[in-house]
């Protein structure tokens, strides 16, 4: 097979454009670290978080980045695990991005702690009943697996690559189930508690991750002047459409189940029908951008074959899933918890009313900074390691067999 002999090389990275990109990403990363340092120094009151909303945008970003990482890893495993050899040229960069996105996610979580200086504590005192503690182990191992997987690919250990590919896919399922469980296992909050969160987390991870990879691949190949077969983008577009259907189904079931039970009328009304910013983000961001519009674009034969339209649909999904992560994390805290049925409660802890949460500039700087840091490392990875294939073109012979 021609694809087996794909040549990988490092990009030159000497152009003014590349340097400008790296400097810009670096500066943005510094901005993110500065905001994290300010949060540590002055306390979290400089963010939009309050005692009633203890988890803000950094946690949204963390679960979002974890999700994005999954799509990259699955794309990387398509050739070794699922036998789609036409994706082999993309395996290295996808595995690299999978690892980096998860590093970014971990940084979002840790730098958001009140005491990030206690970074070593979780290693020495664990709580196997805590989803956070378990996920800490799952995430660290996942990053490790990604790097060993990369190493195996660099050294052409075909058998090891296959084994690690399987391990990585299995581990990704664990990682994303575990992340969904952080919220799904919380029994005290109606909008969190759900056994569907782990699977719908995996599904949204696959859709957003695939969408991001479509954009990153297109961008990377364009900027480095290498040939990327349109057919590869189209096939990824098909996967994306399939993932969107699964996400839509799970979101539908979850909300119908919750809406059916009278005890949940208040929260569901708040989330779906109230017309506040949360229901707007739900309908326009999560349903519109994340599911409906991209699906129509991808399923419509007139647009689904066009690379430009697929890129547009991917951008919508990447935004839509960020909205979905926001809807998972925030509204569950904004709604008051029903402690005394039959009574209105008022108290000094903002009791008994819907509490407004606005993402603060500090948190935006934080989130944008960490995301920039991920791509800063990605750009350096392409420069210093033999990540990029000379071209990613479907060989006529193999493509015919596989199709």
């Amino acid at each position: 097979m021609a694809n087996m002999k794909t040549k990988f090389s490092a990009i030159g990275g000497n152009s003014a454009g590349f340097r400008l990109l790296v400097v810009m990403l670096g500066l943005l990363s510094l901005g993110g670290f500065w905001s994290a340092y300010m949060m540590y120094l002055h306390g979290h009151h400089i963010t939009g978080m309050t005692n009633a909303i203890p988890w803000g945008f950094p946690i949204v970003m963390a679960v979002y980045l974890i999700g994005l990482s999954a799509g990259s890893l699955v794309l990387s495993a398509l050739s070794s695990v699922f036998g789609r050899t036409e994706f082999k040229p993309l395996a290295r960069i996808s595995a690299l991005l999978a690892a980096l996105l998860l590093i970014g996610a971990l940084m979002c979580i840790i730098l958001d702690w009140g005491r990030p200086d206690r970074i070593l504590v979780p290693f020495f005192s664990m709580n196997p009943r805590s989803m956070f503690s378990l996920n800490g182990m799952l995430y660290s191992a996942y990053i490790g697996i990604c790097f060993v997987y990369l190493w195996a690919m660099f050294n052409n250990r075909e058998k090891l690559v296959k084994l690690l590919g399987y391990t990585a896919v299995f581990w990704a399922v664990l990682v994303h189930s575990g992340t969904g469980a952080i919220f799904g296992f919380v029994g005290a909050r109606e909008l969190y508690s759900s056994p569907l969160l782990p699977p719908s987390f995996i599904a949204a991870a696959l859709s957003s991750g695939t969408a991001l990879m479509i954009m990153v691949l297109y961008g990377t190949f364009k900027l480095t002047g290498r040939a990327l077969d349109d057919e590869l983008i189209r096939r990824l577009g098909l996967y994306l459409a399939a993932f969107i259907v699964v996400v839509a189904y799970l979101v539908f079931i979850e909300n119908v189940t919750r809406s059916y039970w009278p005890g949940n009328y208040a929260v569901q009304k708040f989330l779906l029908l109230s017309g506040n910013k949360y229901s707007l983000i739900f309908w326009i961001g999560m349903i519109g951008c994340g599911l409906l519009f991209p699906f129509v674009i991808l399923a419509n034969p007139a647009t689904g074959k066009s690379v430009k339209w697929i890129l547009f649909a991917s951008a919508l999904v990447v935004i839509g899933v960020l909205a979905e992560r926001y809807i998972i994390v925030i509204p569950g805290q904004v709604m008051p918890m029903e402690m005394f049925p039959g009574y209105h409660i008022a108290g000094p802890f903002q009791d008994g009313r819907v509490i407004d949460y606005c993402i603060s500039p500090m948190e935006i700087l934080f989130g944008a900074g960490i995301l920039s840091f991920v791509f800063f490392l990605y750009a350096l990875g392409l420069k210093f390691f033999e990540m990029m294939p000379d071209k990613a073109v479907i060989d006529e012979g193999t493509a015919g067999e596989k199709k």
């Binding site: 540590y40 002055h42 306390g43 979290h44 009151h45 309050t50 005692n51 009633a52 203890p54 988890w55 979580i109 958001d112 702690w113 009140g114 005491r115 990030p116 206690r118 504590v121 979780p122 005192s125 664990m126 709580n127 009943r129 805590s130 989803m131 956070f132 503690s133 800490g136 952080i182 919380v186 029994g187 005290a188 909050r189 969190y192 805290q333 918890m337 402690m339 005394f340 039959g342 009574y343 209105h344 409660i345 008022a346 108290g347 000094p348 802890f349 903002q350 009791d351 008994g352």
Partner: protein, 255 residues
């Protein structure tokens, strides 16, 4: 003997017991400071400490006695535990807070304090990634503030909003027996464990007694002779969100 005299006498008894404490909250031995009719709910200012692991401290709050304007318990807690008040409801620490309940179908308002329920099955402890939240031998749920990383997962898991994050550096240090609150970690009610170890009842209960409302009873739920158990046996009490099955140890009457 007037109530006041009796109480000061009991206080002296409590101080005597405090003298037997040998560091680190380990109590060697403490005898009942009072007997017979003194073990009356409202006059219970000294505690009988059972052997290690035998006690299960609990609290009853009689909502019929708690009035709107009284803030004795919350003020006492703030002073006793150096709980920060920044004058901003978004960041103020609350170990115990007074809430107002207005019945949806009309009727008189109810006022009651909410605090950590020291659940037998504490979800905050279950979710803590570093096991900084733990249950003491006598059932008190506590936070090791030197181990807490400030991830705030416990605040998400607690159905009572009993936990607050220290959002800013605090300067208040009203009681030198209790550490100053340090920013970046989660804090909550300890049932005044440091006082219990000295044979004293929690500051909020003491303040409630002093205010004359006597709406709170504190005692050992494992001791069938304690005032709190006698009260629970005689009067219908209710925990908040008992449906969650967390077995809270703060009981309310009149809600």
């Amino acid at each position: 003997m007037s109530e006041l005299d009796r109480r000061s006498l009991l206080k002296m008894g409590a101080a005597a017991i405090a003298g037997t404490v040998i560091g680190n909250g380990i109590t060697l031995y403490s005898a009942s400071a009072h007997a017979g009719e003194e073990q009356n709910a409202s006059a219970d200012t000294a505690l009988e400490i059972p052997p290690k692991g035998k006690a299960r401290w609990g609290m009853v709050i009689d909502n019929n006695k708690c009035t709107a304007q009284c803030t004795a318990c919350t003020a006492a807690c703030r002073t006793e535990n150096n709980v920060p008040a920044f004058g901003d409801e978004r960041y103020d620490g609350h170990w115990i807070r007074k809430v107002t309940l207005t019945p949806e179908r009309g009727g008189p308002e109810k006022h009651l304090p909410l605090l950590c329920n020291h659940c037998e099955q504490p979800p905050c402890q279950h979710v803590c990634p570093v096991a900084a939240t733990f249950t003491r031998h006598d059932g008190i749920v506590m936070i090791d503030k030197h181990r807490c990383i400030g991830c705030r997962y416990c605040m998400i898991a607690c159905p009572y909003k009993a936990r607050t994050f220290v959002f800013k550096e605090t300067t208040e240090w009203t009681n030198r027996d209790v550490p100053k609150r340090s920013h970046g970690v989660v804090e909550k009610c300890t049932f005044c464990a440091h006082r219990i170890d000295q044979g004293k009842i929690p500051a909020c209960v003491e303040a409630c007694d002093k205010s004359g409302e006597r709406a709170m009873i504190f005692g050992d739920l494992n001791n069938p002779e304690s005032a709190i158990v006698k009260y629970i046996r005689a009067v219908a009490t209710k925990g908040v969100r008992e449906d969650l099955g967390l077995e809270p140890k703060v009981f309310y009457t009149g809600i």
